[in-house]
Point group: C2
Chain length 194, copies 2
């Protein structure tokens, strides 16, 4: 199986000293899955939309099952110069809807929601996006894995982020996110484990 | 630092149960380096040449130091239907020269040679490519890390490949390749460790 994941620095695993990120950790022990990690630091949903078709094209194959994962939102919600978010919730949703629609034409799609942030205004915007993405995915019949509250409640993610660059955890936070995802029934079905 | 690596399934780390590959393993313990892994299964140098400019464009930044790694050759040398290699040595060299030239305009470049193979005819073609890439890199003043003989001699790489799908090792082979690379003075200079 080939699993293509498109998104932001959290998908890329920025700050993970083991260079696995949640994607590699969620697939640990599964050498039959080739993971193509297409997370890019700073990317909003709109940035992903621009680059993902050509990048997917070069990696999708008829020779084995393929899967597409999207995960973004933090950079959409991050503060823009002059206040507010870099993208409005309406823009994020419109782009997410486009990505899911394009993705579903090519392979089964799954979406992973954004991880938590400290700053209250950003955290509130992420709560809103997380709920909106969840509703959109239900409408598109795409499985959605919500990690926002569990990661915030555990404390590990935010503590590691605070000790690091403010945004990205280290091994512990990524492992926790991977554990949430790998144990999710939707992920197990999606990756052919159940 | 952002390190972009372009190449084949060995760059992707296909078969590594830990989903790090040699790239993640060579950068272990260095969370300040964001690794963008652009290895694609089955890709020849010509396939890399087609996709790499757009993919690099979306990831290179002026905000921090960037580095570009190329590693390919196995799929160039693999047997084509009807015999011989998929790409002639002359085609591989011409493409490698183009990639190095394009890359050097954007960031410092390093090349990692192909790992070994069992089949005698393929192994002989890889020996030839390895030497030709080394000469090309010397001419372009690009550091070249030769892993072919050390990996063949150790036995681990080929034993794991034989036990697996015939081409790709598991954790041991990738770790060995990573150790060779991480200890190389050219890699240490290239990634800012010395």
């Amino acid at each position: 199986m080939r699993l293509l994941a498109f998104g932001d620095s959290f998908v890329a695993g920025a700050g993970d000293p083991d260079h696995q990120g949640w994607l590699g950790r969620a697939l640990a022990g599964r050498p039959e899955v080739t993971a193509y990690n297409h997370g890019v630091r700073g990317d909003t949903s709109a940035d992903v939309a621009r680059r993902w078709p050509a990048e997917a094209q070069a990696r999708l194959t008829d020779a084995e099952p393929c899967r597409i994962v999207f995960s973004f939102g933090r950079n959409d919600a991050n503060a823009a110069e002059g206040g507010g978010a870099r993208l409005s919730p309406a823009e994020s949703l419109k782009t997410a809807n486009l990505l899911l629609t394009q993705g579903l034409r090519l392979a089964p799609v799954l979406m992973v929601g954004p991880p938590p942030a400290h700053e209250p205004a950003l955290a509130a915007r992420l709560e809103g996006l997380n709920e909106a993405f969840k509703t959109l995915c239900a409408r598109q019949r795409v499985p959605y894995i919500d990690v926002l509250r569990p990661l915030a409640v555990s404390g590990t993610w935010l503590a590691e982020a605070r000790a690091g660059d403010g945004a990205h955890p280290r091994a512990g936070g990524y492992q926790l996110m991977a554990d949430l995802i790998a144990a999710h029934p939707a992920w197990r079905r999606f990756t052919g484990q159940d």
